[in-house]
Symmetry: C2
Subunit: 260 residues, 2 copies
């Protein structure tokens, strides 16, 4: 495992220790990587550690050269991986369910709010479309979606999505907003309009919170994450093709020497 | 080493066996890779093998997972590597000199022709500029250079650059023309004008020759070669940067709750 371990909360026996294994940066294996689900669960658990219902240990694993004990235990499984009392939970949905049902304090994070749930669920796929298509129509769709989130925050007047304290939806949304902000700007010069004042105020509050800043990857790691994805996708394309050899000629060659 | 070994000529003891180690495709380690110098020396030696002055053995090495004996012998050296009578020659200039001075028949390939030498020497760097800058000015410079080669071929009226038989300059030029044709078209929609009839006729003759077709990488391998170069270059950029975290806000947040 990596030597970058963030600990939070007390491990004095009163509260259970939860370990979250997250992906390391693809640039520097000691840094946090730009994995959205890793950051989301990191934030969930960080909030619980602040409330002292658990003690949190975060371990980064460099997937380009995972340590032997990681490979032995988890083979090809990618982080996030949650470990609670010797039990490893490998799938994102099961991690979420475990935090909600079994981690002390977790149920408080999982607020029921259908409006917010449906409002944020397809946001990220719009960023992906913007990065793939790179056209103004897709950028407009992403901008419009952010506008609806801005309108909800404006209307509700709360600091976070469902009230003045953070919940699971904030831990889901904010990492994605950061990717939209950093990767959108870098790859297609997309900017979140300054007219979305409620959204910016929301992000401002997030930037003050340890749960976000401790879990957030560097801009370069976010950018590199998408560059590598694009390179792999581009490579895949050629890998699937049958090799061809361009040796046709676009003109008629009337040359007596061709008959040799 | 790879199991894809092309042999040509007779190894009956009359002629020396020359081994050329070339880079494998980055898509399929059993295919030939898009390495210009590998193909150039492959063509030189193939011509000599056809003339039966040598017997040629070509070995492809997958640099993404080089076999243990390759690593033991050559460490970080990349192909092309020429092996003659137990002597390994690792540097391109020394390989060229060795073919010219020490490989039987090799001196015949090395024709003196200053006009051709200076005409072809900077062609390839113009393709690199086109791929990096992607502007019409660089494409025009590449097109103009190809036009000068077309004019020379037209004026001389010979099948190859220096006469009706191939020489070292043809082995240098043709792999680069193929990269210009395939990568230029793929990345920036660059096309060699059909008005360059002498150049197309030259390429037509090349496409009939075993020395070219046996040594030529697939279009996909040429394309993938440049994609990987670009991805590595892009990655390098972030690697050199100090990590930064975008957490500034473009608007004034006048919110009483920020003072908590």
């Amino acid at each position: 495992m990596s030597d970058e371990i963030a600990e939070n909360g007390t491990a004095n026996g009163d509260v259970p220790e939860i370990e979250l294994i997250i992906k390391a940066s693809t640039i520097d294996g000691r840094r946090k990587g730009a994995c959205l689900f890793c950051q989301e669960y990191f934030m969930d658990l960080y909030l619980l550690a602040e409330l002292k219902t658990i003690s949190l240990k975060v371990t980064t694993v460099d997937m380009q050269k995972p340590p032997p004990d990681f490979r032995t235990n988890f083979e090809a499984t990618h982080p996030p991986i949650l470990i609670d009392n010797g039990l490893a939970i490998l799938e994102n949905e099961k991690i979420e369910r475990h935090i909600m049902k079994s981690v002390p304090g977790g149920h408080n994070l999982f607020v029921q709010d259908k409006e917010v749930a449906s409002l944020i669920e397809n946001l990220y796929s719009k960023l992906k479309l913007v990065l793939v298509r790179k056209d103004e129509q897709k950028s407009a769709a992403l901008r419009a979606h952010l506008g609806r989130i801005d309108a909800l925050l404006e209307r509700r007047g709360t600091r976070f999505l469902t009230g003045d304290t953070m919940c699971c939806f904030d831990c889901e949304l904010m990492p994605r907003l950061q990717h939209i902000r950093v990767a959108g700007k870098y790859f297609v010069d997309f900017e979140i309009p300054t007219s979305f004042r409620a959204l910016w105020r929301y992000m401002y509050h997030m930037y003050q919170l340890d749960a976000f800043t401790q879990s957030c990857p560097a801009d370069q790691d976010i950018i590199n994450h998408y560059k590598l994805q694009q390179a792999l996708k581009m490579k895949k394309h050629e890998e699937l093709e049958t090799p061809t050899f361009t040796t046709s000629i676009p003109i008629d060659v009337n040359d007596s020497s061709t008959t040799e």
